[in-house]
Amino acid sequence: MSFFGFDATLPRDRGHSSKAPGFGQAQDAFAGLSGKGVADDDDALDFEETYDGLGDQLDETDDTFNDDTFGNDTAQAVGKDFDFAGQTSRVADAIEGEGLLWQAKQPPPNIHATRHNTQPAKPAKSGYEPYAQPTYIPDLEANASIWGINPKRQAQPQQSHPRQESQAPPAAPARKMMSLEEVEAMMLSQSKKPAPQPAPQAAAFPSQAQYPAQYGQIPGQQGGFSGPPQILQRPQQPPTSRAPPQAHAELPGHAVPPPVQQQPTILQRSRQSGPDQSARHTPVQHAQRPPSQPRQILQNPNRLSGHGQPITQPGQQRQGEFQRGPQMGPAHARGPSFPGVVTHPEQLLHLTEEERAAYLIEDAKRAKRNHKIHLLSKDNGLMTPQDKNFITRIQLQQLMAATGGLEEHGPEAALTEDFYYQVYCQIRGTPRQNPHQPASQFAQTYLFQTGGRYGMGRRHHRGGDNHMQRMEQQVQRAVEAAKAKPKNKQLVIEGSLGKISFSNSKTPKPLLNIKRPDHGDGTQGSGRRPSGVNAHGSPIIDRKTTLRNIENVYDCLMKLEDHERRMPPPLAENSDPQTIQAHMEWQTQTQKLHETLWQDLKIMEPINPNSLTPHPFIAILSHAKGKKAIPRIFRQIDEQQRIIMLTMIVVHLDMLSVVAKAIPSADEPNLSPAIREEVELFSHAVMPPLFGHIAESPLNIVIGLLGLILDRTNLHLVARTKIGMSLLTMLISRAELVKQSTPEMNPGDWEQWMQLYNRLFDAVEPVLPLIFPGSVNDTEDVYVWQFLAAMGVGASPEQQQRLVLGVKDRVMDTVAVSKALPAELASVRLGHVNLFMRAIGLDVELLG
């Protein structure tokens, strides 16, 4: 596209097209014809009134008058125009707005008419404008003289739009065709008659004439302007607008015709459009306006489709603002329109103080808001609310599906699943959430939270609610679905080599999947156990059996404890049958469980004194967890069973691991840590319930127990162990207490007791020096002193002497040692000794 060609075509085309839309078909046709004709027959045009018009126009147009008058008129009109354009532009891109302005500039010449045909292509070019803007636009602006023109053009579009749009397309081509031949005819007629119609045509001519003249005469200037046109319409447009003034100044001859044209155009317009009249005041302006109108109309649609896309939104907004700006005031209409299109700073300069301030404030507000938004939402838009809700729903589904089981079975299942935590918190009193808080409650809390989050920040309460509802519904459905169908833990896709295993919170993906052979340990164990030869069999199996027994006991215990929690409300006189029924069932169940527990304890297994294998119950006690179970068992069993258990323990006292293995030997005065620990555990776990029971037992039971110990156990061994001695102490002291608390006791019983006591004393006396653990320095000998004290209380003076003799060495040693100890420790040691000494009416102080 050489600008030569461009220029040549433009004037012709514009002349035709512009006239067509703006003036009406007939008139346009004339104009087009005349335009061409004018070039040929300048004389005819000149002869007519064109000369006069030129002179006025030149002075006025260049000066401010035109701008002012038009600006005022246009400003009002412009406002509307811009609104129209703005509306379209809003939808479309900023370029559209720019395009409008540029088009407005172009109109001065009649060239527009031809453009209508060619415009479609040009608009496309205008689409490129944004790229070229930086370079070309400034030039255009620099020729600010255009300003005056712009307002006019802006005003015009409003007036003529409707007409032109409808008329323009068909009219333009016809006029072009007509122009050459008709122009001549018209020229002739015009020369004869200065009729209004010819005038418009003439008006068109002058403009065209000017352009050619300008191009030809001042190629350099135009080239500077027109150079850009090749690329963009804008450059072309500005030259056209600028051209008239230049032409006027440079070429008076040429300049003359335009005025003539304008005048006629005014007349035509007056006929065609009423609104134009206000703007007609200056002929020049009118002439320029008409062309611009058609262009805008035609171009707008093109731009909408073509230009709109390339333009950026911010650009649009700005342009829109600027366009609106001009509407506000006449002054703005001129200046702002151009700069607004081109660059912000310039536009601002053109704006009035108020405008500028307002604009700046608005801009600042917008920037501030944008910044705020930016800060608030750095990653905004990554996920839409819908996305988030979707994810939340999935999570909740997973959650509910995973914990759904809990909910179904209520707190019971929760206790099963989360037993440790729940009970631990109960025991330790740790603050925690509602112990039996169902999962649904949690989910609901969560849902409300999210709902609140959405609701608070945004106005769309409704939307949030809907999401929440949907979420809740979906969760509900998910839970139901999870209930309905059993879970597949593995998915085997047909044709695939592997399987996909699912996991959830409840059943995490198993890392180890061990298959147990069908004939597992259970059958083996059970197979050998009945044989009864286990004693000679491997101890491991025996141990396994014992462990299994213990586990059975525990299982039963836990069932019992669970069962206790399920105890129905206490019965009252007015209880309804249902409650009574429940109570009955509960009682039966409890009874059954108790029986099971008792059986599991294996206490009633026949005692085989000759067996090398310990009794099953005693075996249970040899394991730590067996010992730990005793207190719990004791709670569950009745009095009779407790006595039986106590008896069992007493009978097997020397077979208890804590007794049999806890006898210090000469080689090893100190017990191994493991044994010591076991003893410790036994004395903490098993002894207290036994003591508790003994402490409430009548004398006959105490007598019976002591008799059993004396008859069935190796007292020498028992007496040398902490457990054995503690038990003995307990029995003796209990007897003493009974004696003291019940003066009128059965003398026979007491007699019996005294016999037993004497037997015990005789049995223990030989080992008195050995009953102390470790060396003198061993501080853990309290229980021995306690035993000695218990023995001493009930002993006869003679026995007491024997006692003192038996432990004299230890007493003296301890006193000696304690002298070397710090006061505190010494007093403790001496206090222990004193337990015994005072029991027999002495005191450590006496030894000092």
Binding site: T416, D418, F419, Y421, V423, R428, S505, P508, Y554
Partner: protein, 99 residues
């Protein structure tokens, strides 16, 4: 769920988490989930010289799968209860299997 249940009772206690990459981190257990992901607060790396890049970290989230050990104070473990809990779990598992 036993371990989840168990670790929940350790919340707000100081534990030392040993990761599979040898890093040991001591800190206050803030939360744990069913995957045994762990959140620690006020952390301190045991061998800080070896892992200086963690010295500025104050709290962290540990994916459960990278944990090798959790060292915990024995005083806050109720072994008897833990035994019972595991029994319950075993029983439940057995019932699930047979049922």
């Amino acid at each position: 769920m036993l371990f989840f249940s168990f670790f929940k009772t350790l919340i707000d206690h100081e534990v030392t988490v040993e990761l599979k990459n040898e890093i040991s981190i001591r800190g206050t257990l803030k939360s744990v989930d069913q995957f045994l992901n762990i959140k620690l607060d006020n952390i301190q790396v045991v061998e800080e010289i070896r892992w200086p890049h963690l010295s500025s970290t104050k709290n962290l989230f540990i994916r459960g799968s990278v944990v090798r050990y959790v060292h915990l104070p024995s005083s806050i473990v109720d072994t008897a209860l833990l035994e019972d809990a595991s029994r319950r779990e075993a029983t439940a598992a057995k019932e699930k299997k047979t049922g």
